[in-house]
Structures are given as C-alpha cells and as structure tokens.
Subunit: 358 residues, 2 copies
C-alpha cells in the first residue's frame, strides 16, 4: 500500500487578479518563494519513503503549464488527468481514485496552498498514512491563527490515542462563521480550519462516494471507461464528464461522513505555516517583509510607505509615495491598486475587467 | 503701442512625474482640459484687440514641442527664442525685451499655469495694459483660496483710483510663509499670491534690469547681438547666454522695485480660477470630478474609491479597489501611486527614478 499523491489544480481564482487569470491561475504563479504554488506542492513530499509519482488533475487548457512546471522541478507525474471542464473536487478525486492502484492511499493536495514547514507537514502525513491504511477518512485541520471568516471550521473530538493528540476524532464540519462566532471558535481551542487536504485509501473513497453520491461515481466511471490514455496523459470522455454533477469533496462526502455508519473520520492537526493565499492580504502576510513591513518585488521605489505589498511584474518602474497598507500589482497588461483591508473585493473588478474590456 | 505676449516655457518640473519629464515638461502635457497648458496659454488672449503674435522663450530641446503645439491651435509665434540652457525668467524676459519692438508692452505669461475664467483674465489684462503704458511694473496677484505655503505673497497697498480696486499700489513682496503666517495673511484680506504673470513696457523692463542687474542685461545683449535668426527662430549666442547669471523676474527686479525710485509698481488682482498645478493634488483640485470626488482618465475601473486622481496614459487597464485620497498616474514607462496629501514628495522619487534607473 503506497502513498499516492493527488494534486488538484482545478482552481481558477480571480481574487489574485491581475496576476492570476483564467489562462494562468494562481497555482501556476510564483507568489511566495521562487517556485509556483503547484511546484511547491509537487516538492512537498520530497524525501518521504514509499511515495508514488503524483497524479495531477487539471483543466486541459493548463496541460502545458502542469507538464512544464513539473519538469522544471524534476517531477514526472505518473498520470495527468485533463478535465475538459471544471466539476469541482469530488469528481476530480473520483477520477484519480478510479485511475490509481486500488490498494494505494490517496493524499489529496490542492495545488494552490503554501506550507512553510515541510518537515512538520511530512510528520503529519505519516500520522495520516496509518489512519488512511486502517480505513479512515482523514482530514487535515489547520491550527487557527485568527478568527478568519473565510474558512470552514472543524470541531475536534477526542484524541484517537491516549498517548498523543497527533490525531483526533472528527466531531463535525462547520460552515464559514460570522466574525463573533469565529472568535468564539478560536478562543475555545476546539476548532481547526478545514484545509482541503485529505487522506484516505482509494477503496475507501470509492466506497464513500458510492454511498453518498453514486451519480458522481457513475459519471466518472463512464468518463474513465471511455477515456483515452496516451503515455502519462489521460483524457476523460468529455460527454460523460460533462454530465457529471459538480460538487466538492467536503460537501459530497466529508460533511456527511461523521453522521453515518460509513468509514470512520479522523482529523490530523497541522501547525505548518499554512495559507491558501485567498487574497492579496494573505499573500502579503505569507511573504518576507522589510523593516517597514513592505513586501516588494521588481523595479520599485518607495518613499514613506508602510505595510504594503508591491509586486511589479510589468516592464516599467513603479513608485509609491506616502501610503500605508496598500496593494500594488503591476503586470504587462494591467495594474491593481487596492487598500489591503479591501483586497477581497478585487474579485469584483477582475470580473468587470474580464467582461468589460474596452 | 501693442500688447506683446511673452510666453515663458522654461520650467522642467519633476513634481508631476511620471507624466512631466525633462523631455516633455508639464507645460507641454494636457493636464486639465484637452489642450496642453502651453496651448491654453497661447489661446488665453484670443479675441483681445491690439495683441501681437506671441514671443515664445523655451529651451532649444523643446523646439519641436513648442512649434508643433502652437501650430495645432492655429497660433504662429512672431518669434521663438531657443535658450541653449535655462537661466531662469529674468534673462528669458530680457531676451524677449531686446527682441521686441521697444514701444510695445510685454505681457509675461508662464506657460505652465491654468486659468479657468479667460474672460476675467482678459478684463484684468486690459486694466494692466494702461498701467504698463504709463510706465508701471504690473504684477498680477491671485486672490488666495487658502493658506498655501508654496507661493510668495504680495501685500496690497491703496487702490490706484478712488473709483475701483481693479488695481492697487504694491506695498511689498513676501517670501513663502509658514502655515500660521499664511493663515494670518489670508484672513487679513490684505494679501495676494504672486502669480508670476507680469506686464510692463519693454522699455520699462530694460531700464529696470539695467538699474538692478546690469550684468544680466549685458550678457543678454551680447547673446542677442551675436545670435542667429532664421525665420521665426532665434538662437542666442551660446557662450554669452551661458555666461549670463541665473535669476528670476521676482528676485532680479520686482522685489526691489517698490523700495527704490524706479518705475512705479502696481498689482492687479486676479480671481480667475488660477492654478500653477504645482503638485498632483493641485491637478486633482483643478480637474472636473465625479460624484465620488474622483478625477479619472483612460481605461480605469473603480470599486469603492473616493477623492482620487487616476490618469491612465499607459497601454493597459488600471483598477482601484477600496481607497480614498490617492493619486495613480500610469504611463507606458512608469507608474506612480501616492497619497494625495504627500504628493509633493513625488519630486524625491522622480529624482531617484531619473538617476537610479536599474
């Protein structure tokens, strides 16, 4: 029973516009560190024993990005499943399960996260591996660093073993809370953030998706049975996959699992410097900063600037004067200037920019 | 005795970087309105009778800009004096005086100001014309709109005529004040801003510059006597002009004149929507704004933005999110993002940008 990494590259976020675009979404861009988030994900298990080459699931339009960026870091995927369109994570994982060795355990890793402490992550993966092998649905839960209202929360249960709290029962998943609720969650010490990182035997996943969403399994099975494989590239049958309902791993299976008599659920806490870089503010928080709190890249001149993120990936020069807490992102095509606290609203202008290009 | 406009285009301001550069300074850029400040200056006397074609004094590197932009608005200068280097306004005016008809009156107009109420300006010019004809050194004084510390002030004397306060004696010029002093000046109602717009007979100027700065007159006379004229272009003799001391009309003559027995001094108040556009904040103040207080130009998307100036003259799109009181200026080469209140410090980054281009 080997560890089979499954790297999910389906996201096409607009919250990091103008760097992240449909043609090159967030996971394929260097945002924190020299390598892209996808490359960092590929390298996150380096050094662990008994790990297969990864299965990549991505949109077919990102095939070149996925292959080239893997090659650049010396990783050769055992399979690249090219989705003709996005159907969220449950179908993506189901494709991977159907295409993997049924004896393997699937470590599900979204490609658009940053994890600073790789060693700690690998220790948690080892804890998860034995639970996955014994039939658990394992969720990795992030130790909260603040009352974030952008994440789902997980209520911890009792430790699975008296000797350690490396792994716990999972009581329940909780929807994204409002701020007072989030504060009470964090203060209670009983909650973790839902990271979107999961671990389970391939056979466990197939049994659970059959139990909760047999329609998804049936559509994916048809897409795989009628798909085409050529070397490491796998193309699911487009009509079948197109007909597959769209749903997330969380909604389709995980949130229902603790309440029924299926596979046992477990949560492994992660305290590893995790971020999903869900906004420019999160990128600023994750990056190294100078003594004025500025994270700066490219040809940039600052005069009296504090606590700001300035990424100049355009051809020219960018100068900032007398500002605090701003985000300035410059590409060859577009410039974004935003208040740090309002950086979530970037999505709105990104959508207007995409539609309304004069 | 005709009215001879003298348009001074010598400035090379860095306060409006990155739009204003040494190659194309502020007066040759459209900043408020469709036309450049230089073109607006050329058209400011349109409709007045007895006005000669203007004399232009500019740096020789801006010859094409000065000629092309004049032609574009249908103005044919009677003379364009091409300075080989800047020597400030006193030598520039002295060149113009030596090259003009000695019977004419010189209306000295800096090319880098905006004046919204042309009709009111022309009325003031008529008042100034009779004073200039009777031997006065006439200064135009702006009715202050606030305690600005960036301008020199003029202390008004008694009205020259009992019937009207269109023109007054000029008591004295006052240096740029600190803020409390500026506030007391403005509250007193006795002060005007020094606009840099002057009016005097050509012979009056030559007599006064001879009185106060004979060295400047001698150098300019030599530069004119040995200069070359070809059609409307006049090139002062470079070694002679290079040897000319650098000084402003204010320092060289105007500030001394009220205290000596030379030509009588007068001040004509101007309440005409004047601005010297000395900073991006001044540009924002002078431009039309939408209901959120934003002055916007080019391909720009705003989301939750107030009281800001956004000029996009680059090729791409600029988006702003959740900001108040910022200046964003985009050119093909550079981007500036500044707090409105700190816009004066742009000069610092402009200088660093010019020197330190990586």
């Amino acid at each position: 029973m080997a560890l089979q990494p499954v790297v999910l590259c389906g996201g096409a976020g607009t919250r990091l516009w103008p760097l992240s675009t449909q043609a090159r979404p967030k996971q394929f861009i260097p945002l924190v560190g020299r390598r892209t988030l996808y490359q960092q994900t590929l390298l996150r298990l380096r050094g662990l024993r008994g790990v297969n080459a990864p299965i990549i699931v991505c949109n077919r339009r990102h095939r070149a990005l996925a292959l080239d960026q893997a090659r650049d870091v010396g990783v050769r995927p055992c399979l690249v499943a090219l989705e003709p369109m996005g159907r969220n994570t449950a179908p993506a994982l189901t494709l991977a399960a159907l295409l993997s060795d049924p004896d393997d355990s699937l470590l599900v890793m979204p490609a658009d996260h940053v994890i600073k402490d790789t060693k700690a992550f690998q220790r948690a993966v080892k804890v998860g591996a034995s639970l996955a092998a014994s039939g658990h649905l394992v969720t990795f839960g992030i130790v909260p660093t603040g009352p974030n209202t952008g994440y789902g929360y997980i209520l911890k249960g009792k430790p699975l073993s008296k000797d350690t709290d490396d792994a716990l029962n999972l009581s329940s998943f909780v929807e994204k809370p409002d701020l007072p609720t989030a504060e009470s969650y964090v203060n209670s010490g009983k909650y973790l953030w839902n990271s979107g990182i999961f671990f389970m035997a391939s056979s466990t996943w197939l049994a659970e998706i059959q139990r909760h969403r047999p329609d998804i399994l049936a559509a994916c099975r048809q897409a795989v049975d009628n798909g085409r494989r050529r070397a490491a590239l796998f193309r699911p049958h487009e009509p079948a996959f197109s007909a597959c309902p769209s749903d997330s791993i969380d909604y389709a299976v995980m949130e229902k699992a603790p309440k029924c008599n299926g596979a046992p659920c477990a949560v492994v806490p992660l305290d590893v410097g995790w971020s999903d870089l869900g906004s420019w503010q999160a990128v600023w928080e994750a990056r190294d900063k100078d003594t004025n709190g500025n994270a700066v890249e490219g040809d940039v001149v600052l005069e009296g600037v504090k606590d700001s993120l300035v990424l100049n990936r355009g051809g020219g020069r960018v100068a900032l004067v007398g500002l605090e807490g701003v985000v300035v992102i410059e590409t060859e095509e577009s410039s974004l200037v935003a208040g740090m606290e309002r950086a979530q609203e970037v999505r709105k202008v990104a959508e207007r920019a995409r539609k309304g290009r004069k």
